[in-house]
Structure formats: C-alpha cells, structure tokens
C-alpha cells in the first residue's frame, strides 16, 4: 500500500472548510489557554483571592472605607462581594483580560506558529473569530469565578445579612443577592471591550508585553481622565465609567441612563477594537523572521503615540458637556440618605421611630473645596438639623458637616466628625457592636 493510501483515512471525508471552522479554532485556543501555567494560576487567584480578602478582614477590625460599601464588609457578605467588584472594575478585570486576551495573537508571533495554523483547513477569518471567542469566554469565565468566589466568601465568612441601599434604606437579603449578581453582570460589556482592546494592541504591536499590560495601563489612564474636567460627555465615553455604573441599581430609585450609556459605549469600544484588529490581520503579510525583526519596537512606538494622542484628546475634552456633579444633585441625594440612615441608627439603638418619620432639616448647603461648585472632587456639605429639646424654645438647628468625596459617576463617600453622629461602631439595643450607619455615608446620584 502506498504512503498516501496508508495515511489516508478512507472512512473520514474532509469536511467543507468553512463549516465549524470557528468552533474548531475555538476548541484549539481553549486547549492552548488551559495548558498555560499563567492562566491556571490566574484562575486559582480568581477563586482564592476573595476568600483571602474576606479572611484578612475577618481577623482585623479595619475596613476599606474609601471603597463603596467598604464600611459594611463586616456587616454583610454582599458588601464584601461589592468591594471585590469595585477593585475588580479598577484593576482586576484589566489584568485578567490582559493576561488572557493580550497574548492570544502575539504568542503566535513569539512562537513563530502563525505559519503553522494559517496553513491548516481554516481561513484567517475563522482563526480570528475563534481566537476572539476564546479571549472573550475565558475572560468572562475568570470574572464569573471571581464573582462566585466573592459571594461565597462573603456569605460563608460574614453572612447573608441584608444590605443598606445607597439611599440609606434597608434591602432584603434576596434583593441584595439579586442586585449583586446584576452588578457583576454589568461588568461584562466593559470587560469584553477591554479584551478587544487587548486583542488590537496585541495584533498591532505583535508584542505580548504591550497586549498584556496595555489594558491595565488603559484602565489607569481612564481612571485619571475621569478626574479631569466637570463635563459629562467625555467621561461617558470612557470604559472606566462603564465599570462604575452598577451603583445606580443600589439606590432607592434606580436610574438606568448611565447603565445604558455604559453598555453602549462598551459595545462601541469593542466593535472599533475588533474591526481594527481584523483589518490588521486580514491585510498582514506573514513574511517570516527577518522582516519581522526589522519591525522591532516601531509598531509598539506607533501604538503608544496613537494612545497618547487619544488620552490628550480626552483630557482636553474633560469639560465637554453639562456638569454631571452639581451641588443640587449632591444635596438631593445626601439629605434623603442622611434622613434614612438616621432612622436606621435610631432603630438599631432601640429607639421608637414612627413610620415615615423624617428629620427636620433646614438650609442644607454643599460647596466644592477650592474651585468651581461643580465636578467630581472634594466637597463640603452642611446639614442643619432641628432637634426639639426640652427647655429650648424655639428649637435651634444643629449643624452636621460632612466631608464628601464625589466621583465622576455621581457616587460619593461622606464622613463627619463623631461629635454629632458618633463613632464608626456603636452598641445596638442588644448590646452588640454594630456599624454606625451615619459614620460613613455612601450614596449615588444620576449625573445625566
């Protein structure tokens, strides 16, 4: 029997090249990614890090108060998951998608294997789509692992106590769980957009270092850009903003404008990045080592220049559009939250509070420190509360001053000296040490 006849499998006809080719490439990429120690280690970190974080919080009294819901991590496991989500949105997700997607294309350059895969029975388009699919699904799998692990760690090590909303009202455990899951779900669009960004960086530079670290640097740049200017339009166009829209779900009256904008902006970023990456791959000549070596760091330099230009453009456009953060919006959010949290505090202390009771607050003021009274940054809000007291006629207002740190997404943290609102922890009616809900107020308002 001849060699060709001996090697040929007569019972298996070669399938039409286009059918199922993307699925085949996806299976190959999945297997390659699974075999890489870095990906396995990353998956392990995604599972273990939330438990480690929860365990560390458990053995110490401090809490990450600068992060939304940080002060509540000892009070509810759901708060722990949300703190992990905040960190993930800032750093975790860019790192994860960078490691997964940032080297998926450039590794073929590093190993010299483009010529190996491009000479099989699948087209460039099939390879591109299969790799893209693998980058997306692996990124999302790792994020899902982190979400589940953070929820499990919170519930196991802290408990499933109800969560306080960002308007100061109490939510049931079931609603808290549902909202936490939705919040994690909202990271999917910007995470996929970052993965697409990692892919285009990897494809354009053929450099794994740029692809892996690019999303992290882009996320850092976007966070810094969110601090520049008071205008809302340029901020809305940043992926960093899309990662911080989930708190809108946790208010008493959820607002969906930023959520929808975040999803649309993420889709636009992802589409642009994928289109650019495909244009490069489609037109590329796989001309071998001598030609590739001549390119050196020139492509990376060009990409760095282009990204710098984009960053400068966004910085200049920081004041574009109406101000999202204003004194009226801040007051409109802080006062009801203060009112509701005071009720919670009084209930926790065992004092009778009539249903629908409200504080008598007069002339609340909010002003921004050192500059124009609009935009994110440090604000000071004064709440004048009239508390009737025996022998005091007429009742005199008591001023409570809060230092408020406001972010561009309209979320803030307000803290006051303990003179009026007490210490961070207090004794409840049963004598247990509990979080004083007025010590740190977290809130959010709609910037659109």
């Amino acid at each position: 029997m001849s060699v060709a006849a001996e090697l040929r499998a007569p019972d298996r006809a070669r399938p039409p090249p286009s059918a199922g080719a993307v699925r085949a490439v996806y299976r190959v990429e999945r297997r390659k990614l699974s075999a890489q120690p870095a990906i396995r280690l990353l998956a392990l970190i995604c599972v273990l890090a939330p438990f480690l974080f929860a365990a560390i919080l458990k053995i110490q009294t401090g809490s990450p108060t600068d992060t939304l819901y940080g002060v509540w991590v000892h009070a509810s496991g759901f708060a722990l998951s949300l703190v992990v989500l905040s960190f993930a949105g800032s750093w975790g997700v860019p790192v994860v998608v960078g490691i997964v997607a940032g080297d998926l294309f450039s590794s073929e350059d590093r190993y010299g294997t483009w010529k190996l895969v491009l000479t099989r029975a699948c087209s460039r388009r099939d390879l591109f789509l299969g790799k893209l699919l693998a980058a997306g699904t692996f990124s999302l799998t790792l994020i899902a692992l982190t979400a589940v692990a953070s929820l499990a760690a919170g519930i196991v090590l802290v408990g499933h106590q109800p969560l306080v909303s960002l308007s100061g009202t109490m939510m049931s455990s079931g609603r808290s769980l549902l909202l936490v899951l939705l919040a994690w779900l909202l990271t999917v669009p910007p995470a996929l957009a970052l993965a697409a960004l990692a892919v285009v960086l990897s494809v354009a530079t053929r450099n794994g270092i740029v692809g892996v670290f690019g999303p992290g640097l882009a996320a850092l740049a976007m966070q810094l850009l969110l601090l520049v200017g008071a205008g809302v339009w340029a901020h809305l166009l940043l992926l960093g903003f899309a990662f911080t829209t989930w708190p809108a779900l946790f208010t008493a009256h959820p607002f969906y404008g930023p959520l929808i904008a975040g999803v649309l902006v993420s889709v636009a970023w992802a589409a642009a990045a994928v289109a650019a990456a495909w244009a490069i791959v489609r037109r590329r000549d796989f001309a071998g080592a001598p030609v590739a070596r001549r390119r050196g760091w020139r492509p990376a330099g060009r990409v760095a220049l282009a990204l710098t230009a984009v960053i400068v453009l966004f910085a200049l456009a920081g004041g574009w559009g109406p101000a999202g953060v204003t004194a009226d919006r801040l007051k409109g959010s802080l006062i009801p939250a203060f009112n509701n949290l005071t009720v919670l505090q009084q209930l926790a202390l065992g004092r009778p509070v009539a249903p629908g009771a409200r504080l008598n607050i007069v002339l609340p003021t909010c002003s921004r420190r050192g500059s124009a009274p609009r935009g994110p940054g440090d604000w000071v809000c004064t709440v004048n509360v009239i508390i009737p007291a025996q022998g005091s006629l007429p009742p005199q207002p008591t001023a409570v001053t809060y230092d408020v740190s406001v972010q561009s997404n309209g979320c803030y943290k307000a803290q006051s000296p303990p003179a009026f609102i007490g210490q961070q922890t207090m004794r409840d009616a049963a004598g247990h040490s509990v979080i004083n809900p007025l010590y740190t107020i977290y809130g959010c308002f709609n910037v659109l």
Partner: protein
Amino acid sequence: MAAVRASGVVKRFESTCALDRVDLVVAPGEVRGLLGPNGAGKTTLLRILLGLVRPDAGSVELFDRPPAQAPALARVAGFVEEPSFYPYLSGRANLELLAELDRGAGAPIERVLERVGLASRAVDRLAGYSSGMRQRLAIAAALLGDPRLLLLDEPTAGLDPAGVREVGGLIRELAADGVAVVLSSHQISEVQDVCDTFTIVRRGRAVWDGTVAALRAQAPASAFALETSDDAHALALAARTPGVRGDASGRGLTLTAERGRLDAYRSRSDTPAWRSAGSSCWPARSSRCSSR
C-alpha cells in the same frame, strides 16, 4: 487542473524585490525542486503559495483557487523556514491541535508519527526536541492533513543522512500516489534524486526551468583553481584523467570537471604533492582549492 499555477508573481519588501515576475506550474504527482542560494526568493514563493504572503502583482492558483482561500488550503500542506510549534505542548498534542483545526479529517496521528519515526518521543514536550526531530514533526504535520499538494521549505535541513534518505523516499511515494510536491533547497545534491523538475531561482527571478536530465546536460562543470608543487606534472595527469580538463595559461592551474571526476583525479597515486595547506574540499594537508 494544475496543482500550482503561478504567473508573473512579484513581491517587494520595502526596497527589496524578493520575487520578480516568477512563473511556476506544477502538475499533480510532480516533484518540483526550487533551487537557489539563500535569499534568492524560494521561501517567499512558498509563503505566497501557502497564502501567508500576498503577491504585489501576478496571480497564484492552487487547484484553480486562490491560496488564501480555505478551500484551496484544505488540500495543501507544508511549512516554511524552520518548523515552529507550541513549546509548552508535546509533539503529539501539537499534532492533535492541528488535527482539530483540520476538524479531524486526514491521517490518524499515530500512523503519521510512526511514519516519521517520532512515535516513541510523541509525549515529550517540544522544548526537548532536536532540530531534526522538529523537522520530522513538521513533515508529520504536513502529512496529517491528507494533502494533495505539499509545499516544503528545505525539508531535509537538520536531518541526518538516513533521515534525508527516508524523507526523499517518502516524497517519492507520495508523488507516486498523485501528490504534487514543491520543495526548496540550496543544495542540488540533496534533492536531485527526489525531484522530477527544477526551477532555479536567483535574485528573485526564475532563471531556469526544466527536468533533472536537462539540468545535468546544461550545467557547466565546476572549475577549481589549484596550487601545486609541479603544475606541468599535474596538467599531464589531468590530460590522462577522463572528464578533467586542465589549463595552466592563466595564473596557476585550473581544473574543470564534475566533482566526482575531480575526486578520481585526486585519488590517483601519482598526483603531485600539493604545496599549500588549508583546503576545505581537498586533503587539508596538501592542497588549496577554491570554487569559481
């Protein structure tokens, strides 16, 4: 239907013209050798045939289809330059991935591994493979897809003499079964017994095209300049050796002959004592020769 039909192919890399109006036609069952020195454009031509590089001008068809189209590549396999695989996987795992990309069609992996003599090392990681083993794995990868056209860039590079013979025999058997093969080499001695036809590529141009017999008939014999202690005696000796022509009219003595004839000339017992040292192709102790 030709396995390969390339016409007027031009490819430039920046200011370098890698290919200049190259024509190539290969029939099913034909083994075509691309011969030429390093940098002549052989690998670029193979890259274009494999769809890795797009020509700036001209047309290329494999089985009447453009090479970049998957339907064409489904019947085409091969490799260019040194074989590259995923180093963190075993040889077998690499082939499994490639078989997956081919969606399971083609030859069974075990049979291919056995055919190229890698069955016993199949589970080893690529990082531990020698260059010869990588070359064998590349041939296995090419055979895996049950190709009707094989495009092989220096397939015997890194192989020991036995390996060279094995690969040559394998190629001839495939050709006998109707598989078209295009292989490149810069050493005619390694592929002359394997190829039916040759295309000689020089500075990006196909300068000669024909059969092995025609190439042998037209190729001029090699000329060697020699330094001897007795040119007159060496010249007389050359006159008595069939196929060797001596010429002492210029500077020193020049012998023109095929290499085998020169070897016969050198091996004669009455060869004069060679004066100089440092030869690479004659006995190092006694002579110096250089190819013209």
